[in-house]
Symmetry: C2
């Protein structure tokens, strides 16, 4: 099951900002449509000319979370689609070849022991709901697409979360990042 | 980049055996064709009627190997395509939901600490070359497709390797396995 994010003139989310944080950005568009598909069709690589871009990814099993963290996350996190969560962000990132040359325990060390990615993000739950989609193995231009949803009253919390993550040792491996903000249409 | 394994009447590998080890098997066929594709087209899910089956997967970054193991593997392992490696095996497996509910450190514990998957397999290198393809995230009927290549004189070694792996604690999580043997046509 793939999740397709299609920018264009239609879709349930209005794009309010689309900024390149590092590396190349993405073309501006009015709306974002989110759909799921069992097939990865050519359109996900070569979108029709009326679509500025389309990104595909898949949700998967956890790669870094350990048992105690999984229990804590399951207890506290919220799902997508809460009526009050009318603000959203889509943050596609690509990490460097150096990151992908690391082994599992080296990546976990940078991700959590040095950067506290799980522990620090957890302090923003359940206000900020998020879903990670993997894209690198699909030959996509990004490695990960992370989708966040929150109520407008938590917008400042979300800014603190992303600003914090961008200052971690993990983020020195990010070579492309785009920050797309949205509101439910 | 996806790798497609297509059973049918054409292909560089002659299928000599196709046995269900656990769960449902796969239809018999004369040949296996191996190709790569940037797209996952509908045919990989619904093969044309003249093709008994088609399986797709992707090579990816290592998930369990640690640094010392990676160094040792890189030093000793052989690549695919050696002229003398005219025997091959394709072993698709699917693991249970219980496996996928485990966290990373729990899977590593079963995979290596209890089952010695890396350490024991390494004793068969470089005679047995292999490549792992991930399939679960593509919605395929199997989680992993492993391709092995070896010279006919190492056939007994290969039998010992697969017999050994099937007796490990890791294998108690395997709920479907097919064992396909081939020779270069």
């Amino acid at each position: 099951m793939f999740t397709l994010f299609t920018a264009g003139d239609t879709g349930d989310w209005r794009i309010t900002r689309c900024e390149a944080v590092r590396g190349d950005g993405l073309l501006a568009a009015a709306r974002l449509a989110i759909a799921t598909s069992d097939l990865l069709a050519p359109s996900s690589h070569q979108p029709p000319s009326h679509q500025p871009w389309q990104l595909a990814g898949f949700a998967s099993n956890v790669r870094y979370v350990e048992r105690a963290e999984k229990i804590a996350l399951t207890r506290v996190q919220a799902g997508l689609g809460r009526p009050e969560a009318t603000s959203a962000a889509l943050i596609p990132i690509r990490k460097s070849a150096a990151w992908w040359d690391l082994t599992q325990e080296e990546r976990r060390d940078i991700f959590e022991t040095q950067s506290h990615h799980i522990a620090d993000s957890m302090t923003y739950l359940p206000a900020i709901a998020r879903q990670l989609y993997h894209a690198r193995d699909l030959g996509q231009p990004f490695d990960f697409l992370t989708w966040f949803e929150y109520a407008p009253e938590h917008a400042d919390d979300f800014e603190r979360l992303v600003a914090h993550l961008r200052q971690t040792p993990e983020w020195t491996f990010v070579e492309r990042e785009v920050d797309i903000r949205l509101t439910r249409a």
